[in-house]
């Protein structure tokens, strides 16, 4: 699998939701291709909002975001829509907290959803996937070690396995970027580490940029090169995980660290 990489640049990005709530305030970020970025912050800090602006799931109100050759603008600017928006999205994989698999169909069919953009409508209608795409899906499953389950129903897999299928689905896109929104929040600690290691390996081996929202600070520090701390829609920390000490976390969280903020259940890093 060959993947090309793309830089992501936020310029003065704000998001105001239709109800008037400001989800993001004047964000400026530059994420070079191939980084592994962890995003932390309290519930409601804007982690999901930040991640979802990158593939246009949340439209930005002002400023602009560039993802490789694509640009997303605020209101008033040129809007990315239709085929152009879908092309951007085809380059950006997304992993969700609740896996978002079609549970009644096979694991393989779920992974093939990563090829929908590149597959003609009639092939999809008939379920007549190209052999190359099936092979691509299989090798994506191989990377997360779920190949033997390819023809099993997605619902028959454990949570950790389902999330790894979801990661394989993004790999089948041959993406430049993978966005993961609390990918381990529904998993137990050992499985969380397995899934985080998968993401880390994908980042290291394939050079795909990985941006991952995490609830647990120790996970974020351990698995990312760069840590971004959000508080009330603003970036309050941006640096190496190792530099993020307790005082930094107090700044991000507005309180001192508790056992609930770390996966391993002790209020230390």
């Amino acid at each position: 699998m060959e993947h090309t990489a793309a830089d992501i640049r936020f310029s003065d990005v704000s998001v105001t939701y239709p109800n008037g709530y400001t989800g993001l305030k004047t964000i400026d970020l530059n994420i070079p291709a191939g980084e592994m970025v962890g995003i932390v912050g309290l519930s409601g800090a804007g982690k999901s909002t930040l991640i979802r602006t990158i593939n246009g799931l949340v439209p930005i109100t002002s400023g602009s975001i560039t993802v490789g050759a694509h640009q997303l603008n605020g209101r008033g600017g040129a809007q990315l829509r239709g085929k152009d928006l879908r092309e951007l999205r085809s380059n950006v994989g997304m992993v969700f907290q609740s896996f978002n698999l079609a549970k009644r169909t096979t694991v393989l069919n779920n992974v093939l959803m990563g090829r929908l953009y590149h597959t003609s409508a009639w092939r999809i209608l008939l379920g007549a996937w190209k052999n190359d795409d099936v092979e691509l899906a299989m090798s994506a499953l191989e990377r997360v070690e779920i190949v033997p389950k390819a023809y099993e129903k997605a619902s028959s897999l454990s949570g950790g396995q389902q999330q790894r299928v979801a990661i394989a689905r993004t790999l089948a896109q041959r993406p430049q970027v993978i966005l993961a929104d609390e990918p381990v929040a529904s998993l137990d600690p050992p499985t969380s580490h397995v899934v985080m290691r998968d993401l880390q390996r994908i980042n290291a081996d394939l050079g795909i940029t990985v941006m991952v929202n995490l609830h647990f600070l120790d996970l974020a520090r351990r698995y990312s090169d760069r840590l971004i701390g959000l508080r009330s829609g603003e970036v309050v920390f941006d640096g190496a995980g190792a530099d993020a000490d307790e005082s930094v976390f107090e700044n991000i969280y507005g309180r001192s660290l508790t056992a609930e903020d770390v996966l391993d259940g002790q209020a230390v890093l």
């Binding site: 079609a102 549970k103 959803m113």
Partner: protein, 270 residues
């Protein structure tokens, strides 16, 4: 612990007052009562007349309890026609209903105007009783199975589209969201992510409408739209109640057998 639970002044939050529904319930009951009385007066429920007719009825019922089994061979063509009408109508209407159901669900159709138009059309079709469709189609297309099939198809589409679009509405849209986030267009995302999820419920609706069609095809036959209904109309107008009795028995057996079969199949599906 126990003191804070029992002391009424310690509540951190004001307790909400229970909403009073008494007046609403009383009003609803009164309205229902008035409507019932109005309906009763309107159709002139005539108890003495019912008693008088009852004496006629007993002789007819005695005849009805003695089916003329010798009539059976003559009913076979009509019986088969009823079955064939039901099968063809079910097949055609399922094929037409599936895309319409996706257009009629908020979860799968992102265009509000198209959604409203499809739903309006479906509501219109559903508000017309099948027997009325049959009467109109018999007038337009002519007496026979074709008009019956067309009436059944219209009737079926309205049911399948409603039930399947409702199950789409209730379906978890997570996989669809993932497909859209991967760059799929809505139709592609719906086909790949939503269709597999509702297939069992769709199949179950199709079987259910097949059951309905067996019953409905006998009724719409009464207005000339083919099948056993035409036969019923014939024997009834000549007061041949022994023969009518056999036909009713046949319908009963057919419906029971097919219902059992489809119930068994549907259980396997879900």
């Amino acid at each position: 612990m126990s003191t804070s639970l029992s002391s009424p002044t310690q509540h951190r939050h004001e307790r909400p007052t229970k909403p009073k529904l008494g007046a609403k319930y009383a009003a609803a009951t009164a309205v229902l009562l008035i409507i019932t009385i109005w309906a009763g007066i309107g159709v002139q429920v005539d108890l003495p007349a019912i008693a008088a007719n009852w004496r006629n009825a007993t002789t007819n019922i005695v005849q009805l309890l003695q089916p003329d089994y010798g009539f059976f061979p003559k009913t076979i063509p009509a019986l088969l026609e009823t079955l064939q009408m039901a099968v063809i109508a079910t097949v055609i209407s399922s094929a037409l209903s599936l895309p319409l159901a996706f257009l009629a669900s908020r979860a799968t159709n992102p265009r509000p105007k198209l959604l409203a138009a499809v739903r309006f059309l479906m509501n219109m079709i559903r508000s017309v009783p099948d027997i009325l469709f049959a009467s109109i189609l018999v007038a337009v297309v002519g007496v026979g199975a074709l008009s019956g099939i067309m009436a059944l198809v219209l009737f079926n589409i309205s049911i399948i589209v409603k039930l399947v679009s409702e199950s789409l509405d209730g379906e978890d849209a997570g996989a669809q969201e993932a497909a859209l986030a991967a760059g799929a267009s809505w139709p592609k995302a719906n086909r790949a992510a939503m269709l597999p999820q509702i297939l069992p419920s769709f199949a179950s609706q199709v079987l259910y409408t097949f059951e309905l069609n067996i019953r409905a095809s006998t009724v719409i036959g009464l207005v000339g739209a083919g099948g056993l209904g035409i036969l019923i109309d014939n024997v009834r107008s000549f007061f041949r109640y022994h023969e009518l009795s056999l036909i009713i028995l046949e319908i009963l057996v057919l419906v029971l057998v097919l219902e059992a079969l489809s119930a068994w199949l549907r259980k396997k599906l879900v």
